[in-house]
């Protein structure tokens, strides 16, 4: 009969431990949700003009000519930076 209180205590301790774990998981979920929603809002702010003008850059850049133009633009920017460094 002496074992019963100890079993009850164990159960209570287990329940407490599980409750603490649920709290922790809930907190993690809430943090993750907050971060995810903030990230979506930030992405929406960044992509506003692309969305507004209905430009799908992914489909534009699939065209070889656009890719070539982009590479040329990168090369020009790189060259300009190099010139700037040399002059500056």
């Amino acid at each position: 009969m002496a074992a019963e209180p100890s079993t009850g205590q164990d159960e209570r301790a287990e329940v407490e431990r599980l409750r603490a774990r649920v709290d922790e998981l809930e907190r993690e979920l809430a943090e993750r949700t907050a971060k995810a929603e903030a990230a979506v809002a930030a992405a929406q702010d960044r992509s506003y003009w692309l969305d507004r003008t209905q430009v799908d850059l992914n489909s534009v850049m699939r065209r070889p000519a656009a890719r070539a133009a982009f590479e040329a633009l990168l090369a020009t920017a790189k060259a300009l930076r190099a010139v700037k460094r040399r002059l500056g």
Partner: protein
């Protein structure tokens, strides 16, 4: 099993190729040949008799593409019934190919074969025919069409199993009876076969004008049977011309011949596009013009028997969610987690209807979202727009509008619910969003932020009925004001709480501006019928008659009302400008036939007494002794109230001071706290429900 074959050829003035055609049919083997003549005045009947055909004469007015072919089928006896037009000449092996097609499967109900050009056919027609029919069997073998497959079928050259024809028969349509049959037979589970060997020589080589008229007829028929509307597509004509040029070269035509043919091909394709586009819109043209454009000389179809087919648009109704909720029931809520109602942050997903410039209801929703965010919660906004009010605007564009034109919230704005990813609590904010919210899965609770009693926005209608039902869906209601909460509880038994509309005292406050003694500022948003703008308008006319020196300023919409007295139209303006005008004016006039709104409170906060209707929500929320001068709901009563405030300085001062005091503690921070409390209460309800259920389960276990 050998099948007997009947060949039916409807004829009218067809002597040009009829002799050749009937001879070619006879050359296929033993067939029953039936010619149905509908008033030929050439040698057609004589040719038919000479070919040994059974000749059936019908009056021209009895002819119908479906009806006449049904007659031919009824009079025939073959297991297979072939239909040819009077100018289609079967090639060798035609009939054997049909027999082979029907031997493929016992469910084959019809078969058709290609149309080959004659030797003298124009190159563009020859190219089109060849390419078109090649597409049905690119590998040169018979192709079987099943339900959901190609429905094309042409009675220029087709063959039917008697059982299939008897089951479905041709519809009595002016044109395209074969296309309608093709669709119906596949829907009914029959198979259709294209056999490249069942070919006929057949090409309509009209001039460009005749071609355009023929396409007018064909597409008019297609519109009637399938609802198809053909776009003009001028680029398509240009593409066809290029393909003609390539084909002519591939056929070995010299440069001279190509140069001769290309202008005609251009006219052909242009006429075809125009004829098709006009034909499929023929119902908009007068009868005489239709008759003139039709190659068959037929005018508009008689308006009696059938309406026109209208193709379905899109795959969802505007009221899809109501149907889904009725048929599937609400999505189950997530199991409650103990203590969830007390946690911060909560994830609050707010589903909103489309908004317009200056929408007060949306302003309230976004301001509350802002306050909930400041209280540490995570919010997301979901635009429910089944009618496409916002067109192709994306979530980011909508978010920019919310941030720049309403309140700078942190929440992302999602367009539609496709990306729904659950929330602690989903909040409906308009009657049609309530149905959508009931269907959202992965929520722990659902609430309904209610700005107004929306059934009153509609005349007696389905919308009014559905709006009323939203209060009985079981959503936890959070009403704007006690009056509305009580109404919802009394009339619909809705449970829930309320919040008091706030005032932005940074903007709406008394200021050092000289107060005019002659100005009425009127909320004239006429496209919101509950604002009773016509009532205000005639009250102001009466006031003008009594006091010709009174000035009027209208705000709330940019459109003119067309009233018979001068006034300044302020339109929809920024809050700061509006507050400035409240500080200048003598009395405000803002009517509401449903719930009270932000405007009277904002007027009062600027020290501007206002007139509203007695006996409604404004009286319940703002009382009789505050800043609002209440008026009977008639133009004379309103004019009297306005005149009282304009005339009696002591009354004005009393109302002005009482108004300022009355709304001094109305703030959005407090409104946000009230809404937060109610949202937590909605979650607590779920927890209590869980505790109750768990208690019942324990009791049951103990009993057992």
């Amino acid at each position: 099993m050998p099948s007997t074959v009947s060949v039916v050829v409807p004829v009218k003035d067809g002597d040009q190729r009829l002799e050749e055609s009937l001879a070619a049919i006879r050359a296929q083997g033993d067939v029953e040949l039936i010619v149905i003549d509908s008033g030929s005045r050439d040698r057609s009947r004589e040719i038919a008799r000479a070919a040994g055909a059974d000749l059936i004469d019908i009056p021209p007015e009895d002819f119908g593409h479906g009806r006449t072919r049904n007659l031919g089928a009824e009079r025939s006896s073959g297991d297979l019934i072939c239909f040819l037009t009077q100018d289609a000449v079967p090639v060798d092996g035609w009939l054997d190919a049909y027999r082979e097609a029907f031997a493929l499967d016992e469910r084959v109900g019809a078969a058709f074969g290609p149309h080959l050009p004659h030797a003298d056919t124009s190159p563009m027609i020859a190219r089109e025919l060849t390419e078109f029919f090649h597409g049905f069997a690119p590998d040169g073998r018979p192709a079987v069409h099943r339900r959901g497959g190609l429905t094309f079928l042409s009675n220029v050259n087709a063959c039917y199993a008697r059982a299939c024809w008897a089951e479905l028969r041709f519809p009595e349509v002016a044109y395209s009876e074969d296309q309608a049959f093709g669709r119906a037979m596949l829907d009914a589970g029959w198979l259709k076969v294209f056999h490249p060997g069942a070919a006929v020589r057949h090409a309509h080589d009209y001039g460009p004008i005749e071609f355009a008229r023929r396409y007018f007829d064909e597409y008019r028929g297609l519109r009637n049977t399938t609802g198809h509307v053909e776009a003009l597509q001028p680029k398509q004509a240009a593409r066809e011309l290029v393909r003609d040029a390539r084909w002519m070269r591939a056929q070995g035509m010299g440069a001279g011949a190509r140069t001769r043919w290309l202008p005609r091909a251009a006219a052909h394709h242009a006429g075809r596009r125009v004829g098709s586009a006009l034909g499929s819109r023929a119902e908009r043209l007068p009868d005489g013009l239709q008759r003139a454009l039709s190659l068959e000389g037929r005018g508009a179809a008689p308006a009696s028997r059938r309406g026109r087919m209208v193709p379905g648009r899109g795959d969802r109704s505007q009221y899809e969610e109501i149907l889904r909720l009725c048929s599937e029931g609400p999505a189950p809520l997530e199991a409650p987690v103990p203590g969830m109602a007390e946690r911060t942050p909560l994830h609050i997903a707010v589903v909103i209807p489309p908004f317009g410039k200056g929408s007060g209801g949306h302003n309230t929703v976004f301001t509350l979202i802002d306050r909930l965010e400041h209280a540490g919660h995570t919010c997301s906004i979901w635009m429910y727009d089944p009618r496409g009010h916002h067109g192709r605007k994306s979530g980011s564009a909508l978010r920019r509008t919310v941030v720049e034109e309403f309140v700078p919230v942190r929440a992302p704005v999602y367009k539609g619910l496709d990306d729904w990813h659950g929330a602690d609590i989903a909040v409906a904010t308009g009657w049609d969003t309530a149905y959508q919210v009931m269907l959202l899965p992965h929520c722990r609770a659902r609430a309904y932020l209610i700005n107004d009693h929306e059934p009153e926005f509609f005349a007696t209608s389905a919308d009014a009925m559905w709006a009323a039902r939203t209060y009985e869906l079981g959503l936890y209601g959070i009403a704007a004001g006690r009056w509305l909460r009580d109404l919802l509880a009394r009339r619909y038994g809705q449970r829930g709480g309320w919040f008091r509309l706030g005032v932005d005292h940074e903007i709406y406050r008394p200021g050092p501006v000289e107060r005019r003694r002659d100005t009425v500022i009127f909320y004239s948003r006429s496209f919101t019928p509950r604002r009773a703008v016509p009532l205000g308008e005639i009250a102001l006319k009466e006031l003008k008659r009594r006091r010709p020196d009174v000035r009027f300023v209208f705000f709330g919409q940019d459109d003119e009302l067309g009233v018979p007295f001068d006034h300044e139209l302020l339109g929809v303006v920024e809050p700061a400008i509006l507050a400035q005008r409240y500080r200048e004016a003598t009395v405000g006039l803002c009517l509401s036939l449903t719930n009270y709104s932000l405007i009277p409170q904002e007027m009062l906060a600027c020290g501007l007494p206002c007139v509203d209707l007695a006996g409604g929500s404004t009286e319940a929320e703002l009382g009789r002794d505050g800043g609002v001068e209440l008026a009977e709901p008639d133009p004379i009563g309103i004019a009297d109230a306005l005149e009282r405030v304009l005339e009696h300085r002591d009354l004005w001062e009393r109302r002005s001071a009482a108004g300022i005091a009355q709304v001094s503690d109305a703030s959005w921070d407090e409104a946000g706290r009230q809404v937060e409390r109610e949202l937590r209460e909605a979650l607590r309800e779920r927890e209590r429900g869980m505790a109750l259920r768990s208690g019942e389960e324990t009791a049951e276990r103990e009993q057992l």
